[in-house]
């Protein structure tokens, strides 16, 4: 079976001699919900930025059959939607409608098609009626949903989400988990919140200091106390607290 994302021997450093990603190799299947976990500063978000060519690749990254390189960038950005952690970084147009239409218009869709995409994305995110709303007047939860809608409007094959569960109250988080589970696209989710990842993802990759430490079924990895503890994700406090309270 062909893979949706193929990463081979990916390296990256922001400064010389300080590599952030080291020899990353990974295959993610079509339609898979894949999590990336790791301590702060481990290179998770940097890896995400490679998936649609924001950071140029030293190594090989393929989305479907398309290799990420300068000449394939337009195609790659149509295929991979990137949702940033802070919705204020994603929403730069005055109105919700304009923000959602921004991507489809850039990719040369005609007005009718763009309108249809905007309606589809708003409906999918339960935001119908928000077309003319101003982004800065929305709540954090609403802005998060609009940010996701801006990417859904592109109907991408792959959606990469950076910390989608941060700053959400429990009902909003539940709604987002249900939405993610309903998506047909391949999903790559970087998150520090492990509970929602367990609810969404089939597999996870544990990254520490720019290296992939383990890849496997989400429950297997997260249940491995020794593996998690030795890589900066000690969950014993949460487990103890949960046991006491529930």
């Amino acid at each position: 079976m062909s893979v949706s994302i193929h990463i081979n021997n990916l390296n990256y450093s922001y400064e010389q001699d300080k590599p952030v990603l080291k020899n990353i190799s990974l295959d993610i299947n079509p339609g898979e919900k894949f999590g990336i976990i790791g301590p702060m500063g481990s290179g998770k978000s940097t890896l995400l930025l490679h998936l649609n060519g924001i950071l140029m690749v030293d190594g090989i990254v393929k989305i479907g059959d398309t290799v990420i390189e300068k000449k394939s960038l337009a195609d790659i950005r149509r295929k991979v939607g990137l949702v940033f952690q802070n919705p204020d970084d994603q929403l730069f147009n005055p109105t919700v409608e304009e923000d959602i239409a921004f991507g489809p218009l850039n990719f040369g869709l005609n007005n009718e098609e763009v309108k249809a995409r905007v309606s589809y994305a708003l409906e999918a995110m339960n935001l119908s009626g928000f077309e003319k709303s101003l982004s800065h007047h929305l709540s954090m939860g609403e802005r998060k949903r609009v940010a996701l809608a801006t990417v859904l409007a592109l109907k991408p094959e792959v959606i990469a989400l950076d910390e989608p569960f941060s700053s959400l109250d429990p009902p909003m988080m539940m709604q987002l988990i249900n939405l993610i589970n309903s998506f047909e696209a391949t999903l790559v989710i970087v998150s520090q919140s492990l509970l929602p990842l367990i609810a969404c993802c089939q597999r996870v990759a544990l990254i520490n200091k720019g290296k992939i430490i383990a890849v496997g079924p989400v429950k297997e990895i997260i249940k491995d106390d020794e593996l998690m503890r030795s890589n900066g994700l000690d969950l014993s406090f949460y487990k103890k607290t949960f046991k006491e309270f529930f």
Partner: protein, 253 residues
């Protein structure tokens, strides 16, 4: 945090609000040009312009108090510009300008009226339409694209910047019992530098976000504007009134 101070009355449904943004922009800019082109020292024509602007204000249904409050915020600058002429005359000449009947004060008053009416026209413009509609109107009137992009991003991020400023202010105040005891200038400049650094970091991420959705230097728009007969009639009446004052009434005064 909620913000609404810029577009507080843009959702009203008055005759002026319903006008096409291009018409409002043209009316404002042509109106300002006509007012500013009045010869210095002429006062009477401003009464006619004032009546026209007052009619616009009443038609727009924007509370007069709101317009006056905004005008008062800007009035010190207008007053300074107006008084600049008699004061400079007084400083450079031996002539003693103590009499308010002196022509220099007449010129100062005409400058004040010109600037004041122009400011009120601008307040009316930005209060009777949403900012993005005005931007679209400017774009349709062939404003350079780059200026449009800068203005749109500025409008979007001015709120985020003010949030950042508020957050750093709260952080400072929460650790400041009473008055600041350390060097104030240092604290404020550090705060400004922090806001600048955060804005710079954020601008990089926003650019990434734009690139990831296919940005290639263009800001395409979907919305279309439609001008109707009422727009044209309103524009012709407004322009005719202003031109009549400028070229028929002014020479008689």
């Amino acid at each position: 945090m909620k913000h609404s101070f810029i577009d507080k009355y843009s959702k009203l449904n008055s005759t002026v609000h319903r006008l096409d943004p291009r018409i409002k922009l043209l009316m404002t800019f042509l109106g300002i040009i006509i007012i500013v082109s009045e010869p210095p020292g002429k006062i009477l024509p401003f009464a006619f312009y004032g009546v026209a602007v007052l009619i616009l204000m009443l038609l727009s249904r924007i509370p007069l108090g709101f317009i006056i409050k905004r005008f008062l915020i800007l009035s010190p600058f207008i007053l300074m510009a107006a008084l600049f002429f008699p004061v400079s005359l007084w400083l450079t000449n031996d002539e003693q300008i103590v009499n308010l009947q002196h022509p220099a004060f007449k010129v100062a008053l005409s400058i004040f009226l010109k600037a004041g009416l122009s400011v009120i026209l601008l307040i009316l413009l930005i209060s009777t339409d949403k900012f993005h509609n005005l931007l679209l109107g400017l774009r349709k009137l062939k404003m350079p694209k780059l200026i449009g992009v800068i203005a749109a991003l500025m409008y979007r991020y001015v709120f985020i910047l003010s949030d950042e400023a508020l957050k750093t202010k709260r952080a400072r105040e929460s650790r400041t019992p009473g008055k600041l005891k350390v060097n104030k200038m240092k604290v404020f400049s550090n705060q400004m530098a922090m806001i600048f650094l955060r804005s710079w970091e954020r601008s990089k991420i926003i650019y990434h976000s734009m690139l990831s959705r296919g940005f290639n230097g263009e800001f395409p728009v979907m919305q279309k504007l439609a001008m109707n007969r009422i727009d044209v009639v309103f524009f012709v009446c407004f322009l005719t009134a202003f031109l009549a004052v400028r070229f028929l009434i002014t020479p008689l005064t």
